[in-house]
Amino acid sequence: MSHAVEVTGLRVAFGDLVAVDGASLTVDYAEVVALLGPNGAGKTTLVETLLGFRDPGAGSVRVHGLDPRRDHDEVVLRTGALLQRGGVWFPMTPAQVLNLTATYYDAPRQPNELLTLLDLDRCAQTPWRRLSGGEQQRTLLALALIARPRVLVLDEPTTAVDPEGRQVIRSIIAAEAARGCAVLITTHELTEAERMANRLVIMHQGRVVAAGSLDELAGEPELIIETSTPLDAAQLGHLLGCAVVMERPTRLRCRIESTPERVAIVSAWLSEHGASLVSLQTRATLEERYLELIAHERSRS
């Protein structure tokens, strides 16, 4: 079966500025892929090319196996999109714009069902200009979902959304993937990406610099300990039988698997020194890995 989204060697340039430079990625049905990268990495340009806003200068882009420019009508029937700069007529309410948008499709979801699903019932009759940023974002997500899409492209879906709203969005994305929908999300919220995505793709200066599952991106297993008071890293290294690096006086890190025996050694050692365990990580966080990767790419370029 072909991929829901397939980008191969994509290059998009605006005059002399190369926004996307040979990027490749795939998203399968029932999968959530998060596209990460600093501002100007080319994420939005890639998404816009997927949605038929731009012609690929080189390489190819396929959605449902179709060309988003040539087969635009067919692609948009089966694709939902939340755009970073996509809006609604100012005087319209969420209920009105959902009802209007429902008329574009043959078998849309019920607007009232979507209003409830996205917790928009209270503001269903409020004009767009008076909605909060989070309510606007949830309305745009409701619009993206109205056609029961098989591919969902969400450009920064949690921007300006409060924690409760984020939880709603996360659960909807998980439900859509469970239904068999392919979801591509661009975001700067690494914690959100960590929670939502099956796979992550990191872009920098138009190129894909890393891709894989969270475990694959996190690299080797590690034992990262944060303590309440500064302790001797060399002493812990001797006990664990590996080199321990002191990142900060209260943060010690070593490349070793976190077996129960080793955790017990650490626990006894802390107790012996009257210190308590503030946190224990078994691998680098996505944020740490991401910052490492971007710093490495910046130093290279």
Binding site: D73, L83, M92, Q96
Partner: protein, 243 residues
């Protein structure tokens, strides 16, 4: 068809709810009709002033709705990302433009009805009979197409705020130089010659001849109307940007 009809209804509803649009499309034309019909500001080629002013104000209605209101509304839709969002729905550019055109025509029907009723109260005697009304409808449709093309080209080309100023400025200039309320014969000859080459000038002149004087529009008027009706929408389609 269902999407187009729903979109058309939404376009008309939004147009009639926008206060500034009502001012531009109804209040200003009616005020100008009443003022220039009653006040002896300029000489008119007809016996009764309203017989000259009413066809001109109908041309002004077309100018305000097809060009200015459409341009400003579309410019802000582009600026606020509405057009970008619609691009990723199956509504499609053709149905959206179709709905906008239907919205413009519906608004113009309301405008012309209001202006005609006020003009008749002021003593207007439209010439040309039923055939004249049919030809006037064709002229209005051609004028609408040309002016809408210019409006959409401006909306696709300029930033929303710049477009707002440009459309209103152009409206004022075209109002004064197109023979809408001031007869072209009262203007310098060079302006008169340029005016009939403009869609608003050809529109106003044709309607003055047809409904005010009971004569036919000139070949030059038709040529100008047809060229703008075909050329301006093509220009708009070629230059229009969604963002």
């Amino acid at each position: 068809m269902r999407a187009w009809w729903a979109q058309t209804r939404a376009e008309v509803r939004m147009t009639v709810r926008r206060g500034e649009t009502l001012l531009l499309t109804i209040a200003i034309p009616v005020l100008l009709l009443v003022f220039f019909s009653l006040a002896h500001v300029t000489a008119t080629p007809t016996r009764h002033r309203v017989d000259f002013i009413a066809p001109g104000v109908i041309a002004l209605c077309v100018l305000s709705t097809s060009m200015v209101a459409l341009s400003i509304a579309t410019g802000f839709e582009r600026s606020f990302g509405v057009l970008r969002r619609l691009h990723v729905t199956p509504l499609g550019q053709r149905r959206l433009i179709g709905a906008k055109i239907a919205g413009v025509v519906a608004t113009e029907v309301i405008q012309v009805t209001v202006v005609a009723v006020v003009a008749l109260i002021l003593g207007w005697h439209p010439r040309g009979g039923l055939s004249g009304a049919a030809v006037a409808t064709l002229i209005v449709l051609l004028g609408s197409a040309g002016l809408a093309g210019i409006g959409l080209a401006l909306a696709g080309w300029l930033r929303a705020e710049v477009n707002l100023a440009a459309s209103n400025g152009l409206y004022l200039v075209l109002l004064l130089v197109s023979g809408i309320v001031v007869p072209l014969s009262s203007l310098p000859a060079v302006i008169g010659r340029v005016a009939v080459a403009l869609p608003s000038g050809a529109l106003a002149e044709s309607l003055h001849r047809l409904l005010g004087l009971g004569s036919s529009p000139t070949g030059g008027d038709w040529v100008s109307l047809v060229i703008w009706a075909l050329g301006a929408p093509v220009l708009a389609a070629r230059t229009f940007r969604l963002d």
